[in-house]
Amino acid sequence: MLEIKNLHARIAEDGTEIIRGLSLTVKAGEIAAIMGPNGSGKSTLSYILSGRQDYEVTEGDILYNGESILELDPAERASKGIFLAFQYPLEIPGVATMQFLKVAMNEQRKARGEAELTTPDFIRRVKDAADKLKIDQAMLRRPLNVGFSGGEKKRAEILQMALLEPKLCILDETDSGLDIDALKIVADGVNALKSPDRATIVITHYQRLLDYIVPDTVHVLYKGQIIRSGDKALALELEENGYADIIGEAA
């Protein structure tokens, strides 16, 4: 489903290279965990996959279902099924949450040539998904993410993911700032979306989240490259020994 080939990318503004020859393949149905120390390029990778313009790809390619997506803007990528759950979801005052959800769902449907949702259908979908994630209706009446706690913001991201039904889900440090109960709710939400035609990339610092979202593959990112890949045992090894050994081997 996703094939990243020898990717090099830098910050557009100052030219700092962050991704330095990264290659990674994620198959449909797979849950891939990307782990790595601070500053290794994990969040940057998630932004580049979703098309943020602050970064420039200088070499290599990103193929999604066999086609390069480098020329697509974030909205086009989203309507093709790529979804990024943000590490720090943004507060947007003045944009009503419900209105935003409706516009996003319908714009994606339009882009795919599907009919727009009727209002009752839309409301029913939101209510069902919100109930599963224990999201209070009052929260949905507020402006987008405004005044949400850290945990509420993360649940709101998963709510959006459930409603938009993406094919490639990228979770950027979704566990940060969550207590254990919230973590379970979020993990349940992610696991509920697991299907043979959907892939998930879980970016995380700690192994903790992987107790609840069990990965098929684990990749260690360091200085903009994947330096080691393995199965879930690799995550446990990292938990035990830290990154130092693996980094030492690669160096």
Binding site: R52, Q53, A75, R77, I92, P93, G94, E107, P143
Partner: protein
């Protein structure tokens, strides 16, 4: 000296003087009113329209910007429109003429032309100071409007809409409004062009809130692309009075809205909000002169501006805190979304504080759309143009949403959306 000044009158100034001459004997007013009109016009003739050398008009050089005047007497038949908020009591002023049959239960309403005729309006016609060009123009030419008194302890269950509609020509209106002690009301002052051709509109609202009055006053300016709108609101707040004053500019070619506010009663509270939607080749100026003149009062002022095309905007915000106005709390901010390289916005906050125990602050920002916000919306599949429109609307809608009346919020958001669809 005077002769020299007179000889340098611009075309617009000459047109004003000639229009006045042409209307002698026709403008309503008794001897006292006529005397006041003559003095105002004479002052206008002597000083001319203000230029950038007058500090209060530094960013809006009226002499330069107001080049041509539309003819004074162009009257076409205009029908009243549906009110902005369903269920409002409409007091219409069509092409500057008030409706003799207008009435609202429990509210005293008189025609301003009658107040001019019997001379009771004469004292209020004066200019506020030597630079008060709007006071002079309006005082010289005003023909009609409504004088309204909301009695003490009266709570109006529906908004009153002052519906000023006009076509081409010159229109000068006036609204003296008093709110009795502990009264509660919402007033929507709506100025709108409904026909082709350019117009010169001046309008002054002279409002007094007695002790404990709790008032929402909305000024909605939707003039046509060639119109000049000179608005002024003179406000006096009594003890514990509360005023929410919203000024929304969504039209006009040359617009000046002056807000002259006297916080004169302890415990009084002013909430001023401004939304300026600026597009085309327009020039829009909101000038506030706010006096905190007694102890223990507070105010907040937030102005939000959206600039497209070659539009220019100005906000001058002067807050004066009198020597004995201790415990004044005043916060002012002016935020601009500049969405063009060819337009501009000038913000000039000023604080003159003569008391030593006060909290006063101001801030001004000018920015483009936040790129991280744009990315967030796009990452959910919202195309760029739509995402931009959502963010621009959010920037100003946030202000409107502070209003409590849901129907009013919806109506104003509708005005904002319609304007953005046309200009963005």
């Amino acid at each position: 000296m005077n002769m020299q000044t007179t000889s340098r009158l611009t075309a617009a100034e000459t047109a004003l003087v000639e229009a006045f001459g042409a209307q002698i004997g026709e403008l309503p007013g008794n001897g006292a009113v006529i005397g006041t009109r003559d003095r105002l016009l004479d002052d206008l003739k002597k000083s001319g329209l203000p230029t950038r050398r007058i500090e209060a008009w530094h960013y809006t050089d009226l002499k330069n910007l107001l080049r041509i005047l539309p003819d004074a007497a162009t009257v076409s038949a205009i029908d009243p429109a549906a009110p902005l908020v369903e269920g409002s009591k409409v007091l219409s002023i069509l092409q500057g003429t008030a409706d003799a049959k207008a009435a609202v239960d429990g509210v005293e309403i008189a025609l301003f032309r009658d107040r001019l005729a019997d001379g009771s309006a004469a004292a209020g016609l004066t200019a506020l100071d030597k630079d008060d060009a709007i006071g002079r123009i309006n005082g010289s030419f005003v023909r009609d409007g409504y004088a309204i008194a909301v009695p003490a302890n009266t709570e109006l269950d529906a908004p009153i809409e002052l519906q000023a509609l006009h076509g081409a020509g010159q229109v000068h209106t006036r609204f003296p409004v008093s709110f009795g002690a502990a009264s509660k009301a919402t007033i929507i002052e709506r100025h709108r062009s409904v026909a082709e051709g350019s117009a010169l509109v001046s309008s002054i609202s002279d409002i007094a809130l007695e002790d404990g009055a709790d008032i929402t006053w909305i000024i909605l300016q939707q003039q046509a692309a060639e119109d000049t709108h000179l608005g002024q609101i003179r406000v006096k707040l009594g003890t514990d009075a509360k005023l929410r004053l919203f000024v929304i500019n969504a039209g006009g070619k040359l617009v000046r809205q002056e807000l002259r506010i006297d916080v004169a009663g302890e415990g009084a509270e002013l909430t001023l909000r401004g939304v300026n939607l600026l597009g085309g080749e327009s020039h829009t100026d909101v000038t506030l002169v706010l006096g905190h003149n007694v102890p223990n009062t507070n105010s907040t002022e937030i102005i939000r501006n959206v600039v497209f095309d070659r539009a220019n905007g100005v906000f001058q915000g002067m807050i004066r805190v009198a020597p004995d106005a201790q415990k004044t709390d005043a916060k002012m901010s002016c935020n601009t979304l500049l969405l063009t390289d060819d337009g501009g916005f000038s913000a000039k906050p000023e604080l003159e504080i003569f008391a030593d125990d006060v909290v006063c602050g101001h801030g001004a920002t000018v920015a483009d759309i936040e790129s991280s916000h744009l990315f967030y919306l796009m990452a959910r599949g919202v195309p760029e143009n739509k995402a931009r429109a959502m963010l621009v609307k959010a920037f100003v809608a946030e202000i409107v949403e502070e209003l409590e009346e849901e129907k009013l919020v919806e109506a104003l958001e509708g005005v904002i959306s319609a304007w953005l669809e046309k200009h963005a």
